[in-house]
Amino acid sequence: MKVALWKIAHARSGDKADRADIGLFAYDAATYAVLKREVTVARLTQHFAAMGAGPVELWPLDNILALKIVLNAALQGGAARSLRMDNLGKNVAAQLLRMEIEAPQDLPRLLLK
């Protein structure tokens, strides 16, 4: 079934020059395996296309159940020359949590009341 990432993961984003970067974290190992499979460079590129971002980079970190995501050329040249309200890219993580992926319905987090 389709599941929005905010239901099964948490995330923080920041900036370095013209790059926005996101850490995406599974609450548990079962979810991490799903994130690793479903949150791909292709999906991310599509999800952030409107930001005009350059190449997307992605690294899985099994030791902390996390995906490290970097959106190159995503901040209009950097925070100090950006025209955007979110010049620091702090909400790029919130944007990511709105992405929907295919996930089994019995993930631990989805069974929580």
Partner: protein
Amino acid sequence: MKTIRIGAGLGFYGDSWRPVRASIERGGVQYIASDHLSELTLAILQKDRQKDPAAGYARDAVPMLAELWPLAAKHGVKFILNAGGLNPQGAREAIARAFRDKGWKATIATVSGDSVLERIDELRAAGEPLAHMDSGEGIASVRERMLFANAYLGAQPIAEALARGADIVLTGRVADAALTLGPLAHEFGWKWDDWNRMAAGLTLGHLLECSGQGSGGNFGSAGEWAKVPDYAHLGYPIAEVSEDGSALFTKPPGTGGRVSFDTIRQQLLYEVHNPHAYVSPDVVLDMGTLRFDDEGGDRVRISGASGAARPARLKIVAGYQDGWMGTGMIGFAWPEAYAKCEKSAEIIQTLVQERGWTPEETNVEYIGYNSLLGENADPTYRDQLNECFLRMTIRTKDRRVADGFGRLFPWLGLSGPPYVGSMKGVQPAKELLGIWPTLVSRELVEKSISIEIENI
């Protein structure tokens, strides 16, 4: 077994130092590592320096130390801070003046040599192209517009300053984590090519450098953020470090916030590019071997950092003038709040065209709808919003156009769509700065590092 406790100071210029008191009073810390500089901060400090040559440092260091020093001195706590910004000597003079007024004594070390703005030609003559790190573009296009250029120094001068008896180490631009790695290397006598220990120190410095973000603040999540206890009294994180570089990560007792596997790993990856090669001046860290063991009760054991040899080149971040931003804003209430914002944007665009203004870029955002979520905003309720604000910004080389743009908006109050709010004055043109990251051979920078010791 000897352990060293280092507490986080500020996480940015303008952060609160109130929580640092708890770390000193009951956190058992020996050092406070206080990070006043973001990538952006030097741009702010440069504007200060243009107005007043004695300025150009993070002014908050003065009231921070004025408030905390008596307590710090009583507990034998030393401060490492990069509040020197573009003018470490100016910062030292301001702090020394405040201390002398109060009759306090301290040994202050000032580390400088990071600023290379005056040395650009010298560095280029020495064979450094200083091309843009990402795009490869040559520096000639921005050379004349450059406002600051600073290399990120490492932890060695900080450790040396401590070895020379400093109570307060004041630096300009250093790698944020060097504020923590410096005292650790000094205390434990770590060898500068002991890459795994260097990597451990870098990890801890990185976890401490954003103050409350390392202890439950800004916990990016849906729902979970609300479970972080007592934000109003959130304690800043503390690392209790052993000689082998492993550490207990925690916060002072009786404070709010949360130190857990979840909150710490968010900070670990914050503003990191390749996590298997997190480059600092002192070591290249691989985060893939780290182990976080959550013991509960705001205690996480950290171990397993692995490092590779430090880079041959240091990073420089320079800032250059890059035009002006004009800003206008107007808010509307129901009914048709969004539609009225959209109509106003259209009207403003017409006025801009009729004036013959040709901004290089126009940015239209709807606050309350998409100004933070962009294209990922959910449009379901867009046409039923209770209220919505239009924010428009333009990019132009002409400062007068940027100023004039904001002045177009108040007129809408009487001659545009109904039920307006937020008529709070006109925003003046704002100078935009481009960031120029580049690399330079470390010897060329390091030969100019100076450490001055002053007893006051």
